[in-house]
């Protein structure tokens, strides 16, 4: 079920940046139209992308997708706070 997590969006972005810097060859965070945001992760020349809406808190569905893309568990992710 898609519900907001208790993770603030700005904290979520900070942690994604930290993990991506360690795990990927390159990473970018694109802010554009409205509140749509895009993460680009590149490893071994293979790009991965995720688009999310900036809300006060990150939604569980988006968070789960991010964990998959970053290949980390929720516990690992939360350990960065």
């Amino acid at each position: 079920m898609a519900v907001p997590t208790n993770i603030k969006f700005k904290d979520y972005v900070k942690v994604v940046k930290l993990i991506a810097a360690r795990k990927f060859d390159s990473f970018s965070y694109i802010k554009k139209r409205g509140s749509a945001r895009r993460f680009d992760f590149i490893k071994n020349e293979k790009p991965l992308m995720q688009v999310v809406h900036e809300e006060k808190y990150i939604y569980s569905k988006d968070f789960k997708q991010t964990l998959e893309k970053l290949e980390v568990t929720e516990e690992e992710f939360r350990s960065y706070f």
């Binding site: 694109i30 139209r33 749509a36 895009r38 991965l48 992308m49 688009v51 939604y59």
Partner: protein, 133 residues
């Protein structure tokens, strides 16, 4: 174009009222696997359109790699709705094909449209990079 790259023939955006997550409107875009949710239909539609625009910019940037273009929807309810949507989209496109007697004229048309489904909104289009012949 290399073998690992491909453009979709059709892109579908759908927004519907969730029966599982009461009070929420959910939206998805196939085949990109982009999803969203909001408390109103209009908000979900706006979110989805913004996300898809940003996603398509990324696809263009990376030259449409297949693994980014074709993504399965992860959500069970989204998949159920996609099946219903697909029936309606094929019915609408099939009707257009029947009405147009000339194949060339049909291919010139912009095969896009929108329809209402159970209070939600469905729109579909051939991405502009496919339309350029």
């Amino acid at each position: 174009m290399s073998r690992g790259n491909s453009h979709p023939n059709l892109v579908v955006l759908a927004v519907y009222k969730s029966h599982i997550n009461k009070g929420m409107w959910k939206g998805f875009c196939a085949p990109y696997g982009v999803t969203t949710q909001a408390t109103t239909c209009e908000e979900a539609k706006t979110h989805l359109e913004e996300l898809v625009e940003l996603y398509e910019e990324g696809l263009k940037k990376y030259n449409y790699p297949k693994h980014l273009v074709f993504q399965e929807l992860q959500d069970v309810e989204d998949n159920k709705v996609l099946k219903l949507v697909w029936k309606e989209v094929t019915r609408t496109l099939g009707q257009k094909m029947k009405e147009e007697r000339n194949f060339i004229e049909f291919t010139k048309q912009s095969n896009e449209g929108s329809l209402k489904l159970d209070g939600g909104i469905v729109s579909f289009y051939q991405p502009s990079f496919v339309m350029q012949t």
